[in-house]
């Protein structure tokens, strides 16, 4: 056993115990650890955002453009958005600053501009991307084709059987979530089959969730036993 002499490891161990103390019951140490984490993460993100993004991407190119203009006069290349020195970076910067108008009584409506631009951009980018990159390829993947039975095309007997099961699963699950018609007759059979597929999916998801949570606990235990206490080599 060789206890760590690193103060940061001790702080990490203390905070780990603070958070895990919640398993016994809610207490001030847990609250302390939780709030400290949120505060540190936000503070660090802000500093990082300024130093690694706002400064090199906006402040420095704009400052450099101002310096060149003062020394050599205004040039066309200072309006090239890809140039290391350019004035155009100030436009998104000013639009972004409109977010702060929320704090100015009477001017808060200006925040709609950056929010509108943000939402418009994302909707425009996301809708075709989801259709082209997810919906169509996934629908194509659910189809049963002869190629899935053909060994020469990378398929085979079992590959074809699994393709049929996948197709049945998709259709049955869609039937289960089809609420415009009462589940009677054929739709009842489909919906009940759909429940089986949904339950299997939940079971697989739960198994993976257990693995995920146990992994995180293992990570902390290894930290305590190895890095802090030095029991494990």
């Amino acid at each position: 056993m060789s206890l760590s002499t690193d103060i940061w490891v001790w702080i990490g161990a203390f905070l780990t115990f603070c958070i895990y103390s919640f398993l016994y019951k809610d207490n001030p140490l847990y609250k302390f650890g939780e709030h400290l984490y949120v505060g540190v993460a936000n503070g660090w993100s802000l500093a990082f955002m300024y130093l690694r993004v706002i400064k090199p991407v906006m402040v420095q190119p704009f400052g450099e453009a101002c310096r060149i203009t003062a020394q050599e006069g205004l040039r066309a290349e200072l309006f090239n958005p890809m140039a290391p020195a350019n004035f155009l970076v100030i436009i998104p910067g000013l639009i972004g600053c409109l977010y702060f108008t929320r704090f100015i009584p009477g001017q808060a409506w200006l925040v709609r501009f950056p929010i509108g631009i943000f939402m418009g951009y994302y909707t425009g980018v996301a809708v075709p991307a989801v259709i082209e990159g997810s919906m169509f390829p996934q629908m194509k993947g659910s189809m049963v084709t002869l190629a899935k039975f053909d060994a020469a095309s990378g398929g085979g007997f079992w590959s074809g059987i699994f393709a049929i099961i996948v197709l049945l699963g998709v259709l049955a699950t869609l039937t289960y979530f089809f609420f415009s018609k009462e589940h009677k007759g054929i739709t009842k059979v489909g919906a009940q089959t759909g429940i089986v597929f949904v339950m299997i999916a939940f079971g697989a998801s739960f198994g993976f969730t257990v693995m995920a949570r146990v992994s995180l606990a293992i990570g902390r235990m290894v930290f305590l036993l190895r890095d802090w206490l030095g029991i494990v080599s």
Binding site: R52, Q138, F208, T209, V210, M211, S215, R220, M221, V232
Partner: protein
């Protein structure tokens, strides 16, 4: 048998039991035999097939310290694989809180390889063999912009050096020079690359995800949109084993070490589920 006691058991006993089941295999290491899932093997094969003279491996990450135990071994294993095959590596962070973890991983694996290096050519040199591009928000912007110009969206790297001055980023202009993007995530970032970058630029995408998100990715592996994934800590352990076996590396494998605790915890969980269900039905029958 008094099933009422089980049904009303204080959950803190279960936490204690789980802690013991996790700690004991760490203190008394055991070898667990494990197979390799097809999706992990596929990812390994795709990375291994990169033509290192023409393309680089891009590791993209959006995990945070919360999921370090699951995701960090994936980055380490990927870097070892790339450096052992001398595949150049570009790294970017899509989430600010995880950015320093990537720096840590890069420095750790670089030090491992340089400790064994016998010459300058044999060493891992930052700027020539690897570049950490840093972080640019929001994620969708670098994902799309890298299809046109990597240096354009990352004018400076994580350390503040201009990317046009680094040898690797001088020839890796866009996704054409990227063999595969492997997105290591605690969320769903591999799917962002699949939806935004792949249809437009045709780049191959792989993933390394936390186990809780793994079921979301399997359908994309079946359609070939994802070239492969590492699913949770088990996936990381499999990749570690594949790299260690192929390149005869003896570096520490954190995910593999955790597999005994993982298996023991799963057995306990199954036992508890069975006991819990028996207790539920036994007490329900008595009440009715």
């Amino acid at each position: 048998m008094n099933w009422d006691r089980f049904a009303s058991l204080d959950r803190r006993y279960i936490f204690l039991l789980m802690a013991l089941v996790i700690i004991i295999p760490i203190l008394v290491p055991m070898n667990i035999t494990m197979g390799t899932m097809r999706v992990t093997q596929d990812l390994f094969d795709t990375v291994d097939a990169i033509d290192r003279t023409k393309q680089a491996l891009m590791i993209s990450s959006d995990y945070t310290p919360q999921t370090e135990a699951e995701n960090h071994p994936m980055i380490i294993a990927l870097l070892r694989h790339a450096f052992a095959r001398r595949i150049p590596v570009l790294i970017n962070a899509l989430y600010v809180e995880g950015a320093p973890l990537l720096d840590q991983a890069l420095k750790q694996v670089t030090a491992e390889f340089n400790a064994r290096a016998t010459s300058h050519a044999d060493s891992i040199i930052y700027g020539r063999d690897a570049v950490y591009l840093g972080w640019q928000p929001p994620p969708i912007v670098p994902i799309l912009s890298m299809g046109q110009s990597i240096r354009g969206i990352y004018p400076v790297d994580y350390y503040g050096t201009r990317t046009d001055s680094l040898a690797l980023t001088q020839w890796t202009h866009n996704y054409d020079q990227v063999g595969i993007v492997v997105a290591i995530t605690s969320g769903t970032s591999p799917l962002w690359y699949v939806m935004y970058a792949q249809p437009k630029y045709g780049v191959k995408v792989g993933g390394g995800c936390t186990a809780v998100n793994a079921p979301d990715f399997y359908p994309y592996c079946e359609t070939g949109q994802l070239s492969g994934i590492m699913a949770g800590m088990k996936g990381a352990a499999e990749y570690e084993a594949l790299v260690a076996e192929k390149f005869d590396l003896e570096d520490r494998r954190k995910a593999t070490e955790a597999m005994a605790s993982q298996s023991a915890a799963h057995v306990l969980m199954m036992v508890l589920i069975v006991i819990g269900n028996i207790a539920f039905f036994a007490t329900r029958g008595r009440k009715s």
